[in-house]
């Protein structure tokens, strides 16, 4: 597909029972402008090596899936301010996902949209924590607490990455995830120090999410090949534990004791939740390839 080529997605491409006119009326002019997509992409034109691309994809997928999960809360949060807060967090994560997946895609000539919408479940490399259901407010906050503490450690370490694109993405993300961490910590303190009901429920939620923490800090062979570029996940654990201990002490909560899950997200093995998330995330793009508005 050449850069100048413009594909017009009219009713003829995906003609269906609704007929051509109905289709055009409902969706307007739906077209794919390849040039436009290229310009949209942030980055400096560098091409990632296969190992760096795999790493960027892991991080990008974490952010993409969590962004999708948090977006569920918009209009469902307990108060309007929280709708806005969670929408903002989701938007930050989507920004990180775009930059990371764009960079990952340079290794194989795929765009961020190709990676987000046209990969199947085993090709996603996100961790299990971000896949876990968070439609209970306490569960969502527990997931946010663990993940934002991890991301703060991660992006702080990535600031000194030997890969200039990863370092540039981290420099922006690090400022943003500090706000995410602050948001989660404030809510954990509020729930733990609130009513008996909120306290008992947040304790359950923290235990529900705890099994998925281990995977965030598990090293594998990829990191041996990324010395100086990506921090070994295990090296981020001490900072995570330290901050978590401070938060739990302040909230007068015990460290959860649930055993680690047999998570395999980094190898493309996902929990049962993942298929449902992708179905919602990818449905529109697959139903109307190249759609834009």
């Amino acid at each position: 597909m050449s850069a100048e080529q413009e594909l017009t997605h009219d009713a003829g491409v995906h003609g269906d029972a609704h007929g051509a006119d109905a289709h055009v009326d409902v969706h307007g002019e739906v077209s794919l402008d390849v040039t436009e997509l290229d310009v949209e992409l942030p980055g400096s034109g560098r091409v990632a090596t296969p190992d760096v691309a795999e790493y960027a994809m892991r991080l990008g997928d974490d952010s993409l899936i969590l962004s999708q999960q948090l977006a569920w809360w918009v209009s469902r949060a307990p108060e309007l301010e929280e709708d806005l807060a969670l929408g903002n967090l989701a938007l930050d994560l989507l920004g990180h996902a775009r930059a990371l997946l764009h960079f990952a895609g340079t290794a194989t000539g795929r765009s961020e949209d190709d990676l987000a919408y046209w990969r199947d479940e085993p090709e996603f490399l996100n961790c299990w924590l971000v896949e876990q259901p968070g439609t209970d407010f306490g569960d969502m906050i527990a997931r946010q607490l663990f993940f934002s503490l991890y991301q703060t450690q991660l992006y702080t370490a990535l600031l000194s990455s030997g890969d200039e694109s990863l370092a540039a993405i981290a420099a922006k993300a690090e400022r943003e995830v500090r706000y995410h961490q602050d948001h989660a910590v404030q809510w954990v303190l509020r729930l733990a120090g609130g009513t008996d009901e909120s306290r008992s429920r947040v304790i359950v939620s923290l235990n529900e999410m705890w099994p998925y923490v281990e995977e965030l800090f598990t090293d594998d062979a990829l990191f041996d090949r990324l010395e100086g570029i990506a921090p070994k996940p295990s090296t981020l654990r001490a900072g995570f534990d330290e901050t978590l201990a401070v938060v739990l002490a302040e909230a007068e909560l015990e460290l959860p004791t649930a055993k680690p899950a047999m998570a395999g997200g980094r190898q493309g093995r996902h929990s049962t939740q993942m298929g449902y998330i992708l179905a919602e995330l990818q449905w529109l793009a697959r139903r109307h390839p190249g759609a834009k508005w």
Binding site: G87, D92, A99, A171, K172
Partner: protein, 189 residues
């Protein structure tokens, strides 16, 4: 908005600003400076009191005959306004007669509210948004400093944070305890 040779070009406030000399500064050659000035007329679509120059989003401008190249940097990673800014800059340059226009993005160095001009901060306050009250270092040290945010209407420091996340990524929601008005605060970043 007319923008002939502006006498003062503050790019960063304070003396110890870490901004690299190469970006965020109006070019010294006349041709590139013209491109810069044209781009500098574009307003932030979400905070229309500020130009992209006031905001620190405008990083570089280059001209070569009828060719113009402008480099922007996004504020927050997910800020959707950046695409609108790009389109607006491109239109302004095409209208001014440049026929080969390129607007690209850079992520590094990462945008910070430290780059907001003093003029920009005054405009924000006049518009009803409290500008960032300190340099970005203040929120990143080992001991986070809590700062009083001044009400843009009555200038009272007796204000409280209602929500850390507001109508756009860059803003938090505050309320003045004295005049009771709610207002947006442009967060330190």
């Amino acid at each position: 908005m007319a923008r002939e040779a502006s006498p003062r070009r503050e790019v960063v406030s304070g003396v110890t600003a870490p901004t690299p000399a190469a970006t965020g500064v109006r070019p010294s050659d006349e041709a590139s400076a013209r491109v810069w000035d044209l781009a500098a007329t574009i307003l932030d679509p979400e905070v229309p009191a500020l130009t992209i120059e006031d905001l620190g989003v405008l990083r570089e401008a280059h001209a070569d005959g009828k060719r113009a190249h402008v480099v922007l940097t996004p504020t927050y990673s997910g800020c959707p306004a950046i695409d609108q800014m790009r389109d607006d800059v491109a239109s302004a340059l095409r209208e001014a007669g440049y026929d080969d226009v390129e607007v690209s993005y850079t992520l590094a160095p990462a945008w910070t509210t430290d780059w907001m001009t003093e003029a920009g901060k005054r405009k924000l306050e006049d518009y009803g948004i409290a500008p960032p009250q300190a340099r970005s270092d203040a929120i990143r040290g080992p001991i986070p400093v809590t700062l009083g945010v001044k009400c843009p209407r009555c200038h009272s420091l007796h204000t409280r944070e209602v929500a850390k996340f507001g109508s756009t990524s860059c803003k938090a929601l505050y309320q003045c305890q004295k005049c009771l008005e709610p207002f947006d605060y442009f967060k330190i970043h």
